[in-house]
Amino acid sequence: MATSPRNGRLALLLLTVALLVGAATASAQPAAVTACENCHRDQRDTRLATPAHDFAGSDVHRDRGFTCVDCHGGNPNEPDKVKAKAPATGFKGKPAGQQVIAVCSRCHSDGALMRKFAPKQRIDQAAEYATSVHGQRLAKGDTNVATCISCHGAHGVRLVTDAKAPVYVLNVATTCSRCHSDGERMKSYKLPDGSPLPTDQRAKYERSVHHAAMVKRNDLSAPTCNDCHGNHGAAPPGVGAIANVCGTCHTVFATKFALSTHSQIFDRSCVECHSNHEIAQPTDALLGTDKAALCVTCHSDGDNGLKAAAAMRGEIEKLKAAIGHSQELLAAAENAGMEMGDQQLALREAGNQLTLARTEMHAFDPKPVNDVLQAGLAITAKVDADGEEALHEVSYRRTGLAVSLGAILLVVIALRLKIRSLG
């Protein structure tokens, strides 16, 4: 029986009212199993069955009372699949492209609704997405780009704090690289200069100091893809924004760098020396005039830049050597039983000065670097003096012991002789 347009509009109106009422009375109770799930679960075609199984397994929406119809439309109480998906039920089928953004943002951009379920959650994801490279390309009709479900999944959606979620901090690189390491998928995309979009970001990131911090030191605050590129508004940082991006965490370095001449010259600021995805553990070897140093890639013999680099590296090496020498002295004194706790503490402060000098170096001005290093050298000089004094004291104590033992031995011999004389 054909449905008249009038009846259809009435059904759609009723469905909309039902949805709104349902949303208004939303609770944290999991949704009951619907006819959609009952039917889809038993399908032989895994494309039809898997969504039902995933949704039934663990899904943040289901846990909060949402069902299939909230995204797909249809009549969840109708066991007949044709009637359940009749146009009058508002059935949308499988959303794709912009439809996904619309379906998700219908709730996630609704402040009043979100306040009932996750009051602290932002509601600007769709707006941010529209500014991202993904969103802009989608708007131009490129359906190959990532939408909400590409990263969060469609069925079995988990909270970002859930370790099994594809957007959990440890899983972000894997999730992004599903597309960005896929050469076939990426081959049609170009960088602004026309070169092909690289697909080795994840491989490089896994060799970086950031990745090591995250997986080896379990530092979940270490950056992954979205910390530099953004998540919903994902885009490469603009040329002028890189220092700001790095400076989000490396605040002091960014402040010092902003004072330097380099900040006005380097197009890619921090990246010029440290690279981007493959950021290695920085060492003092990056600074200086030898072949391993980065300074020589731009500066040449005799220019002020190289002179400054040589001066800063030389002073840093001097403090490093002084700290090493002090450590050996303290170890020798401690092995001899001397208490050198205060000196060890002072030596840690000298180490702090070395770290501070390495930070100051980012202004590329030898004067403040030298000031800090001199403060460190003054500490090591004092520690050395204490260490020498302690070793001298050890020698004095040993001499004292030898004299005492000699005296005791004489007394013991004298007592023995006396006892013998007593018979």
Binding site: E339, D342, R397, L401, S404, I408, L409, L415, K418, I419
Partner: protein
């Protein structure tokens, strides 16, 4: 002048009687005589402990916030503070070692037999008091190892049936080892135990002087057979021997204090992870290791409780050995007590070494 002072004192204290007693006192000389000096060395080490302990008191501050720093100050800033602290620590350990040697030599020579039962009992109690000194003193520097070892050690008291929980709270001054425990241990270490020791040691020494040295069974048998056992005058011969041994002990202490200084380690931090290899002082190690080996449940009873009850029974048996060993009291050999003594000694040596390497 000296004669006048002595005469003045004699008039009031009747010293002539004491001096006459000492002048007449003699000590038997035989092939086991060397064991007589073990008690003297132990007594000397007690004196060293008292002297160095009093000096440490001048600078030590018994609070969680200051204890570690005050010990650090003693060993690094106070003139000869390092020597005093190291000698106090080493002397404490040598003292307990010598007390054990003295106890086992007395046990194997059956010197506890009538009429010296009370000398034995006070001696065994003195050993327990010295172990108490060691346990309470170990925590006082408030370093990491001592903190966690005390936590484990006081926790074992919880296995005592009925009063276990009360004992843990009593020892710790709360549910956990805190600054309150430190203050409590300090009070026990410098006031309660010294008072108990003074009484026990006074009685012990008085009894020794009153009853004289015991003869080993074999020597006593020879004496009963009519043989004349040679004797040395207590003063000056025996006293000079004692002093000579004291000097040897002093030399050993000085060398240990310099070449093997007692480490201070890191300051105790209740929130730090428990460091690896936590174990008590060596004289508790055998018991600690045995407790670790007892299964959690034996015949339906808690293993740890069974171990603690076992140690308590063993300690009580040790105290009343003179009353158990009736054969020795009659001058006959007592193989059961001898066997138990040897088994106890072997257990202590083997389990201490095992515990040291197992940790």
């Amino acid at each position: 002048m000296t004669r006048h002072v002595l005469a003045w004192l004699d008039e009031r204290l009747d010293l002539s009687g004491v001096l006459a007693f000492l002048a007449e006192k003699s000590v038997p000389r035989h092939r086991h005589s060397v064991w007589y000096y073990m008690g003297g060395i132990t007594l000397f080490l007690v004196g060293v402990q008292v002297a160095t302990g009093v000096l440490l008191l001048l600078y030590y501050r018994p609070s969680a916030g200051e204890a570690y720093e005050s010990v650090q100050f003693i060993v690094s800033q106070v003139e000869f503070g390092w020597l005093i602290r190291n000698i106090h620590s080493w002397s404490a350990n040598l003292l307990i070692l010598m007390a054990f040697v003295h106890l086992f030599s007395t046990l194997f020579l059956r010197s506890y037999r009538k009429p010296r039962e009370l000398t034995w009992i006070t001696g065994v109690l003195l050993l327990f008091v010295m172990m108490g000194f060691g346990f309470s003193g170990y925590l006082l520097p408030w370093n990491e190892l001592a903190f966690f070892a005390t936590k484990v050690g006081t926790g074992i008291a919880g296995a005592v049936p009925v009063v276990g929980d009360f004992m843990v709270r009593f020892l710790r001054g709360g549910d956990d080892v805190t600054g309150a425990t430190l203050t409590r241990f300090y009070g026990i270490h410098v006031a309660i135990l010294p008072a108990i020791m003074t009484v026990l040691l006074g009685v012990h020494l008085l009894l020794i002087q009153r009853q004289g040295m015991s003869l080993p069974l074999s020597v006593e048998k020879r004496e009963k057979a009519g043989e004349k056992i040679p004797e040395d005058p207590f003063f000056p011969n025996y006293v000079l021997h004692d002093v000579m041994w004291w000097y040897v002990a002093l030399a050993v202490l000085a060398a240990l204090a310099l070449f093997l200084p007692w480490e201070l380690g890191k300051k105790a931090d209740a929130f730090a992870a428990v460091p690896a290899g936590i174990r008590p002082e060596w004289y508790f190690l055998a018991m600690f290791q045995l407790l670790k080996l007892i299964p959690s449940h034996v015949f339906g009873l808690e293993g740890e409780m069974l171990g603690v009850v076992g140690f308590t029974v063993a300690a009580m048996l040790l105290v009343i050995v003179p009353f158990i060993d009736r054969r020795a009291a009659d001058g006959r050999p007592s193989p059961i007590v001898l066997g138990a003594g040897i088994a106890g000694l072997v257990f202590l040596i083997v389990f201490t070494i095992y515990g040291y390497f197992a940790a």
